[in-house]
């Protein structure tokens, strides 16, 4: 049954104000640090100031002697409190991934600054911080390696002696004959690109509160993944899942940084069990910068080949990924997550990819908004620009010549990935309707006359998202030891209002609202009558949480299907009450009415009343109650796409870049709530502009984190950004009945190459051919000086 065909979309498609907002705008949100339990103890960690060192002694006596300290523990003290190390869950068939044991507290050696070596538990927030400083740890420094390419050289210091190498794994994927493809090319370009390390920097730092009651534990955590956390914490701490309840309260942003099960979560749980008291840990921002996983950090060597007329022949990339010191949940998999779209929206006959992971003495990388796909888009799009320059072709013309055509979907890439639907010319056409390129070039030329360096950059992007097909991504597929279906339960109450339970776990995406819109249309009630419950493993069916732009395309579809099951049953009950055939009952504008007799109808409230308190005329073969569950496992990913243009001004004297205009045309299928889509796009673009121009996690050569606070880690403020111009085209996905594709990461995936290309376009008259991100004034100025033949670079 097609959902869209049987439901007049009344609420879907509307820019409904969010149901989440009233509590948040009045200060009545409930984030992790807002929750208190009587008798709670506070936890603070003693973290290593050394990037690589042997722990020679730990003296906890000073801290332990304090009146306000309840206990101090080292790894040895807690050796029996853990059933296993923190897991990494990617096991691709036939590939060995070097994975050191990763325990919540470190024993023997530390491998990066911030490694926790002891934990203090005490009676209040301030005193445990003081006490942690009184734990005296002596270290014997070991050689440090921070540069991933140097880490691969012979003789480099080893992060993990036992492996004999810093190379964590190699992973190769190929489709088509790349050697032949590049041999037959008339033009081949090569480029080294750096996707530097960034931070998730959610405004709310991480936090955990564990409330023990007898042998049961309620874990409140600022997490994107309460269900996965229960599974992992059960294994690590050795508590059966039925005794663990994980609650993600209001979560103040994640951006992937809370798509993790952290050692700190396991520690708080283990301490609450050991001490028999509630224990709370709220990290500081500097802890967040040093010990919440980072993202990106790849070096990409890219080769593209094309015939003289611009027809692409092949794409080869070698990807070196700096994974840091340990393997967290998905650490080695994140670079590879981009592979389905390595090739972009273009018809490459041959694609050849080689990934290498590298240990360094830095904290781990893992998923940060986009996770592998921003990196891929960055190198594909900029390499396409470089290829166009080598071919002396217009870069947009080169793109159009090689776009997968609107009529060529589903399109199977050389790597065997099936793009579901697309209209790449359509988004680019729309973009150029909004952005007059000829007028811009005239303006640019005039400005150049006056010494103003203005440039434009484009990105025509495609994304893979909606994690998704369990068998393709799971143990026998890509090798994740997990699955990615999603659940929904729709419960209609006796008075006709409804509660939707979703297995996703939103943290700003607005799913309380969009899921209510989806359910409301299918139930025949108002979205205000639909409550959406998420983020509590004791409520609703198991689910796989929120990341990878999956919540709507997978979780929302599950809601639609569960609500349709309810609708089907409501029709059967209605038919019995009205003495009509079930197939003659239709849902029109909130009324379950008999086709052709619109005055004969029942409302959902009347039907639900009958379902809960059955009248005599209700046949006994109709199961009572009005509640349905659906588990949805998609048959494919979804592939949103779009075309972006960024305009920048560069001050050639100082190297400062200002984004003066940003136009984005995106396609994520039909809108459930267009206002929420725009919001996701805005935030994604800002995140990417942050990466392109300002943000960078920097470690010095000794492995010290230089950017440990928001003083040094430069998030963009309102003053650095323009208002964004957004538009959409609508190309439904055939994968789900809603036709939707994810949009949460799109802006982040699309925007970095557009910004960089704009800077390169602005500086082309000065002879600048390349600048690596972040395009800080110093780097840009140095590139200008270098192009002038100066000595700066």
């Amino acid at each position: 049954m097609s959902a869209t065909a049987t439901n007049g979309a009344k609420h879907v498609g509307q820019a409904l104000r969010r149901k989440e907002d009233p509590r948040m705008i009045t200060g009545r949100g409930r984030y992790i640090d807002d929750i208190s339990v009587p008798g709670t103890l506070w936890m603070a960690l003693v973290r290593s100031p050394e990037a690589h060192a042997r722990i020679t002694s730990i003296d906890t006596s000073g801290a332990a002697a304090r009146d306000d300290v309840v206990a101090v523990f080292t790894a040895d003290d807690l050796a029996g409190d853990f059933a296993g190390p923190m897991p990494m869950v990617w096991a691709p068939p036939g590939v060995e991934i070097k994975t050191p044991e990763n325990w919540p507290l470190k024993r023997g050696e530390v491998k990066c600054v911030g490694d926790p070596v002891a934990v203090v538990v005490g009676t209040d927030r301030y005193s445990v911080s003081d006490a942690a400083e009184q734990v005296l740890v002596e270290y014997e420094s070991l050689p440090v390696v921070v540069d991933p390419e140097k880490a691969l050289e012979d003789g480099a210091p080893l992060v993990w002696e036992q492996f004999g190498t810093n190379r964590t794994h190699e992973f190769k994927l190929a489709g088509g004959d790349i050697d032949a493809a590049l041999a037959e090319a008339d033009v081949v370009i090569e480029q080294r690109l750096v996707n530097h390390r960034t931070a998730g920097a959610a405004m709310e730092p991480r936090g955990v509160l564990v409330d023990p009651h007898a042998d049961n534990f309620t874990v409140y955590s600022s997490t994107q993944i309460p269900h996965i956390a229960r599974f992992v914490l059960s294994l690590v701490v050795g508590i059966p899942e039925d005794r663990l309840r994980i609650i993600a309260p209001d979560v103040g942003g994640g951006f992937g940084s809370k798509l993790q099960v952290y050692g700190e979560e396991a520690l708080v749980l283990a301490l609450a069990r050991r001490l028999g008291r509630p224990v709370k840990w709220i990290e500081s921002r500097s802890e967040n910068m040093i010990a919440a996983h980072h993202g990106r950090d790849q070096i990409n060597y890219v080769t593209l080949g094309a015939k003289r007329d611009g027809t692409l022949t092949g794409c080869r990339a070698r990807i070196i990924a700096d994974l840091g010191a340990y393997q967290l949940l998905l650490t080695p998999f994140i670079p590879e997550l981009g592979f389905p779209v390595m090739g972009g929206c273009y018809k490459f006959p041959a694609i050849d990819l080689a990934f290498e992971g590298v240990f360094t003495n830095k904290f781990c990388t893992d998923a940060i908004r986009g996770a592998g796909r921003p990196e891929a888009t960055y190198w594909i799009e900029l390499a396409m620009d470089k290829l166009a320059a080598a071919l002396e072709m217009d870069p947009l013309e080169l793109r159009r010549k090689n776009f997968v055509g609107k009529d060529e979907f589903p399109y199977t890439t050389p790597l065997g990935i099936s793009y579901d639907s697309g209209d790449y010319d359509g988004t680019l056409d729309r973009l150029l309707e909004r952005f007059d390129l000829d007028a811009f070039r005239r303006e640019q030329a005039e400005l150049r006359e006056r010494g103003v360096h203005r440039g434009v950059g484009f990105s025509t992007w495609v994304e893979v998202c909606g994690l998704a097909p369990s068998r393709a991504v799971g143990p026998q597929g890509v090798g994740l030891q997990a699955a990615f279906w999603e659940s929904a339960k729709v419960r209609v109450h006796p008075t006709g209002t409804a509660t939707v339970f979703t297995g996703t776990s939103p943290h700003g995406q607005g799913l309380d609202t969009s899921f209510a819109q989806i359910a409301a249309d299918r139930l025949g009630i108002d979205p205000q009558q639909v409550e959406v419950i998420h983020g509590d493993t004791d409520q609703g069916p198991w689910g796989w949480d929120t990341y990878g732009s999956r919540s709507l395309a997978v979780g929302g579809e599950a809601v639609a299907r569960a609500a349709e099951k309810v609708q089907d049953k409501a029709k059967r009950i209605c038919a019995a009450l009205l003495e009509a055939a079930p197939e003659d009952v239709e849902l029109v504008d909130g009324k379950y009415q008999v086709r052709g007799s619109p005055d004969k109808f029942k409302t959902l409230a009347e039907i639900s009343g009958a379902a809960h308190i059955p009248p005599q005329e209700l046949p006994t073969d109709i199961e009572l109650g009005l509640e349905e569950t659906h588990i949805y496992d998609p048959e494919n990913f979804v592939f949103p796409f779009g075309a972006h243009a960024c305009v920048v001004d560069v001050d050639a004297e100082t190297g400062k870049v200002v984004v003066v205009r940003y136009v984005a045309v995106d396609d994520c299928g039909p809108a459930i709530n267009p206002m929420l889509i725009d919001g996701q796009i805005h935030g994604g673009i800002a995140h990417a502009i942050g990466q392109a121009l300002y943000e960078q996690v920097v470690y010095d050569s000794e492995g010290q984190l230089v950017t440990g606070t928001f003083v040094d880690y430069a998030l963009p403020t309102a003053a650095e950004l323009p208002s964004f111009e957004t538009d959409r085209t609508v190309t439904p996905s055939p994968v789900n009945s809603l036709g939707v594709k994810g949009i949460g990461e799109a802006g982040t995936i699309a925007a970095t190459p557009a910004v960089t290309a704009a800077v390169l376009d602005a500086l082309a008259p000065l002879g600048v051919e390349w600048v690596d991100m972040p395009l800080t004034p110093r780097r840009v100025w140095e590139a200008i000086q270098s192009a002038k033949g100066g000595v700066a670079a």
């Binding site: 104000r17 969010r18 989440e20 907002d21 009233p22 509590r23 948040m24 705008i25 009045t26 200060g27 009545r28 949100g29 409930r30 984030y31 640090d33 807002d34 306000d68 927030r125 301030y126 005193s127 920097a201 959610a202 405004m203 709310e204 730092p205 209001d250 979560v251 103040g252 942003g253 994640g254 951006f255 500081s284 921002r285 500097s286 943290h507 700003g508 995406q509 607005g510 206002m675 929420l676 725009d678 919001g679 805005h682 935030g683 994604g684 673009i685 800002a686 995140h687 606070t709 928001f710 003083v711 998030l715 403020t717 309102a718 003053a719 950004l721 208002s723 964004f724 802006g747």
Partner: protein, 172 residues
């Protein structure tokens, strides 16, 4: 632990007398002593502005003020912005314009915006952007926050009165 100090504050129109450690930050006094958890902490360095409140009519970052410094002060937090079931025009505008996603920066953003509008009731977009540069948001790209502040500025009463007693005068 050091000697406790007595502090009297008037918060959202109500008088409180607190016994605090001299080093206690105002934000923790509001959150942990008064249960006003709408004011958030997002950094250690006064960069993020999630903790912005009004102290004697001025927007301040309450992580940068000691509770003892607030002795005798009149404080307004996000919880004090709506009156008699009526949202403040900024709250209404943030809701209408989708000016929040995760909501964590929102209370500080609204309080900072109220301070901005008190100083400049009819700001331009650029003035709003510069006026809010002490407040970080990771979700919205600021687009809809800026729009919300500009929309709120069109509404009478959007610039918050300096004190709660004046607020009562407005709503009476």
């Amino acid at each position: 632990m050091s000697t406790l100090v007595s502090v009297r504050v008037r918060v959202n129109g109500e008088e409180y007398e607190l016994e605090v450690e001299p080093r206690l930050l105002l934000v923790h006094a509001l959150r942990d002593k008064l249960g006003l958890t709408g004011t958030h902490v997002g950094c250690d360095t006064s960069n993020c502005g999630a903790c912005t409140v009004h102290l004697n009519g001025r927007a301040v970052k309450s992580c940068t003020v000691l509770a003892v410094q607030a002795d005798g002060a009149e404080i307004t937090t996000i919880e004090g912005m709506a009156h008699g079931g009526e949202l403040h025009p900024l709250q209404e505008a943030f809701w209408n314009d989708h000016g929040l996603q995760c909501g964590y920066c929102t209370p500080g953003m609204i309080m900072a915006a109220a301070g901005l509008l008190a100083d400049n009731p009819n700001p331009t977009e650029e003035e709003v952007r510069h006026g809010l540069e002490g407040n970080l948001c990771r979700c919205t790209g600021y687009h809809n926050i800026v729009r919300a502040v500009l929309d709120a500025a069109k509404v009478k009463g959007a610039s918050i009165p300096a004190t709660a007693s004046e607020q009562e005068g407005v709503t009476a």
